[in-house]
Symmetry: D3
Subunit: 239 residues, 6 copies
Amino acid sequence: MIRPSGRQPDQLRPVTITRQYTCHAEGSVLVEFGNTKVICNASVEKGVPRFLRGEGKGWLTAEYGMLPRSTGSRMGREAARGKQGGRTVEIQRLIGRSLRAAVDLSKLGEYTVYVDCDVIQADGGTRTASITGACVAIADAFKKMQADGLVKDNPMKEMIASVSVGIYQGVPVLDLDYPEDSNAETDMNVIMTENGGFVEVQGTAEGETFSRQELNSMLELAEKGIAELSEMQKAALAG
Amino acid sequence: MIRPSGRQPDQLRPVTITRQYTCHAEGSVLVEFGNTKVICNASVEKGVPRFLRGEGKGWLTAEYGMLPRSTGSRMGREAARGKQGGRTVEIQRLIGRSLRAAVDLSKLGEYTVYVDCDVIQADGGTRTASITGACVAIADAFKKMQADGLVKDNPMKEMIASVSVGIYQGVPVLDLDYPEDSNAETDMNVIMTENGGFVEVQGTAEGETFSRQELNSMLELAEKGIAELSEMQKAALAG
Amino acid sequence: MIRPSGRQPDQLRPVTITRQYTCHAEGSVLVEFGNTKVICNASVEKGVPRFLRGEGKGWLTAEYGMLPRSTGSRMGREAARGKQGGRTVEIQRLIGRSLRAAVDLSKLGEYTVYVDCDVIQADGGTRTASITGACVAIADAFKKMQADGLVKDNPMKEMIASVSVGIYQGVPVLDLDYPEDSNAETDMNVIMTENGGFVEVQGTAEGETFSRQELNSMLELAEKGIAELSEMQKAALAG
Amino acid sequence: MIRPSGRQPDQLRPVTITRQYTCHAEGSVLVEFGNTKVICNASVEKGVPRFLRGEGKGWLTAEYGMLPRSTGSRMGREAARGKQGGRTVEIQRLIGRSLRAAVDLSKLGEYTVYVDCDVIQADGGTRTASITGACVAIADAFKKMQADGLVKDNPMKEMIASVSVGIYQGVPVLDLDYPEDSNAETDMNVIMTENGGFVEVQGTAEGETFSRQELNSMLELAEKGIAELSEMQKAALAG
Amino acid sequence: MIRPSGRQPDQLRPVTITRQYTCHAEGSVLVEFGNTKVICNASVEKGVPRFLRGEGKGWLTAEYGMLPRSTGSRMGREAARGKQGGRTVEIQRLIGRSLRAAVDLSKLGEYTVYVDCDVIQADGGTRTASITGACVAIADAFKKMQADGLVKDNPMKEMIASVSVGIYQGVPVLDLDYPEDSNAETDMNVIMTENGGFVEVQGTAEGETFSRQELNSMLELAEKGIAELSEMQKAALAG
Amino acid sequence: MIRPSGRQPDQLRPVTITRQYTCHAEGSVLVEFGNTKVICNASVEKGVPRFLRGEGKGWLTAEYGMLPRSTGSRMGREAARGKQGGRTVEIQRLIGRSLRAAVDLSKLGEYTVYVDCDVIQADGGTRTASITGACVAIADAFKKMQADGLVKDNPMKEMIASVSVGIYQGVPVLDLDYPEDSNAETDMNVIMTENGGFVEVQGTAEGETFSRQELNSMLELAEKGIAELSEMQKAALAG
């Protein structure tokens, strides 16, 4: 089996994490997993949703979108159609839920962090790139909040990162690009902390079912990939 | 640790599967996982969505809803609010995707099966009960299609069933009810075929992350529970 | 003329009223008029709509829905289409308006009663069954409010019930089922109190117009049917 | 009892019916019932809704709207709020259903008549004025269709007209204006043909229930009023 | 070049401005530019939008609509389609923005003026007629506010009026009607104050581009036409 | 008067036009007017809207959006709110209308060009940057269409470009950035062809009205600025 990109089965695509990508957001990251490019902006606003008011805790929520022509053929603009599609809803709920697992909301005070992940070019793995980039963006936003005296302690508990794994032509592979993703037998998105705890595991059989052993192989690849991504996040934040 | 219901950690709630529950649908099942009660109707219609036309294959799609007072406090009616919530969208996509894995769409001909899962009473695990009951409903619909000469071979590849597992007060438990679900550290929904293949695994850390070992314990509980549910499905279909 | 069901012209279908049908709602009734089956849940919430705030009065409002496959062929789900259809709106306004006529809102305090009528199986007369069942559900909810000390006096002024009448093949008939309803020359829904006062009368010529005399005949049938339904409501509440 | 307007209990408001009110519609009428003013436009378009295609029959449908400041205080514009309110939906369904009873759709050919009733000033009775005026507008549209050779025979079976009746301060009154309507114990809208057949009867108890005898008194007033309105329609069409 | 209407290139259509056209609004004008007829209602309500609260200033906003059959062929009703079209949005933003330029909002107190421009018959130039008529309606509303003691000084700074100009068959013309508008090479809407200041200029090349010289010719026609319209507004307000 | 940026009154911001910015679209441009950055993608699809079918002509339409945090404070995502705001609608209509003026649709064949202008960072002038960048993107798309044999002749008639001008602190200035735009007395957007023809002129008085002489000064600045932008477009396309 040769991957369309020529990569080894356990090899990530080239990853870049560019901070301060746009000038207005408290944290702004362009994350690239190969040809997949996502702008991750973290915005801090005073106040929390109604269900949290008066509890002294903060909130974090995420929204996800794709530029209409981020993909091979143009998709209708969700704003023009008047609703977000099911896939969008599913992804933005995943991003928000995962990032909240990285944050100690009780240290955030009554602030809400809005994370916007907007895909400008898609080649598979947009949700895992989004989570990996967005975690750096919120790290920057938290630093700014500390510098501005809005919070005392850094609300980040542990950094998280995410990668996809799958079974492609019978072989477990790491970080699927679009040609692999659209032909994989099984596709799994894994989100872990920098210390190796699992935050979310979502595996789906696309055609054939998968076995316990295949699941294990995929989890091992994911652990390896996320460890590498965590190092890149650290390097980016140190840069 | 004592479960709120007094069950053993590896014990399912009482499960009942009532076929022919309503009179119009080609397959109609009331499934009960303890106090969780879901009507699963399978409707067969001629024709397929545009993207499949002319391919000689069928389609299956699912919709999910909760009666406004299926829950402890009343939720706004989605039809009145003018949109389905994110959780609803996520669940109905999961139900549809899983059931399609159970079906050989090429044997279905140009028919669409609409699966409607409507929760009339909720006590945790509505999505796993929905999938387990809906698979019986589509089995009935397929039998009717064969009897009516609409399809030649049964389009069902393998029956599927689903159960939730989680870590509750540090202990892996099977088939969480609402009091457990709302306090679990980790919650995982597993969907498998009657022959033990994995169709979907979705595990989420609610508070603390989970370890590889905890993941393994949960998967083992799920395998046990789904084997039992598969037997109940068979018994119901034989009844 | 022989009715499709073999009933006498002035004969109701078998009616059952099952209380405590689901476990969460303050009042929960499954009402069956023959094959028409409707879940009627009454939910009590603190607070009133803005236009009533500070007046010390309560409010009651109703919503109506049909499961997509409650009917012979599947109807699109209103939540998925993003709006309630005209028929739905018309029916839920009728249910709410009628039930408010049964209630002394000034005795309710600043509470809102939400009535949800969800049709799980339809065979004609869903709106009249809904009103008849929902009145029992709110009676239960009011009892619970009294028991919980939320209201002092029972806010129910008089029980109401409802039935349809029509001209079928030239003959006035009581409680039309679907085969009659879809072929009736005239269809009338009547809502009355247990003491014989009229709450609402809605008669519509479907094909030919109707005469004053036919109107009178239909009203007499309705008076008879509603008297019987009132007795069944009393029996159910006494049960 | 003295009516706010000083009218006799069985006296209509001054009614005017102005044809050719706007220049584009096939039939265009301004109808005035006292201070209630409604523009009724009938538009003829080739084609019928999907459910009627190929049957050689026509269709008629109605839409209703109120200018935001047709009323004492401004109502939000339905187009801006993104949906028609329940009252609007209920009224336009009534208008369409009633007018279809006046028309032999099989003589209309595969044309659709759109009736638009837009209230420019409201003082009670907008739905009855709309129906009365719209019937004249469709009569004009049918004449034009005959003149243009689109239909051979006039599709109008019988003209219809409509009026409201009610119990105001204990007295049955004809054609309620807004001060009466907002204080009536019972309000009933009656639609009849020029030959005295009933098309629709909708009576609602607003506070107290009404008796069979009060119902009869109201129906008699309605018969008298509609006979007068029918004469005015004839005079307008002859003018 | 002969204009379809036979007018001179610099000649307005017959213009009428009827005040107190409907009875409820604080200012109500029917404005006619030839066959274009628009009802302009100004409604005064206590309170301002959130972004202005507590600043002691008022607000003015406008909405625009067309009756479905105000045009040669029927347009779908925006309320029924569930959204306002792009053209509607563009026009109502223009009307509101222009009228705000006529008003000293700081003299208005915390009141909002809603301007509703509803086209009952269209023959080109509906937006310019709307602005010209609406300015008279708000003048009446301001007089009423002064009379009622709601404001001390008249909030009107300067009256504004509006007219369209264009290049039709190579010739600059004033106040285009529909036959001209739909064939013009260039179409420009100009809004000016009674004292000759420009409020808004919107010129669009429909087919060929226009030159600086053509732009100048059109502006001169507009200045002439608006001067005449300003006189008619004054006469109407003096009447 | 010193401009916040220190620029001369007739000086553009630094402008860059980056082609092939994303990899999927037929034409893809990142345009920067200072800190304003817009991705302009041109997508070519077979087929035309219904109103053009069978005429052998093509169509071009545009959509506009801003990333939620492209601005100083986060704006709600239009896709999540379920509708495009009035400003968005106004701008995308302007972009589409202007670009159609640049194109000979009869040379395009039955293809539709979708132009997507997505603002990733905003600092004033997003609509003028969008038009200027999008014209380069469609030029690239047309070249690709010619290379692929989809069209024979280049459908571009003349390139167009756009710039804003205004009166800032009494002085006419070119290409307003956000600090100027939000304080300008008058703001005007001008769109011209590379040969100096006017395509659209939209001038709005924000506070005080503007005079004919001020209008002339602004037009002269615009002519100068657009001539420079046209040169940059040519250079980019030659690059």
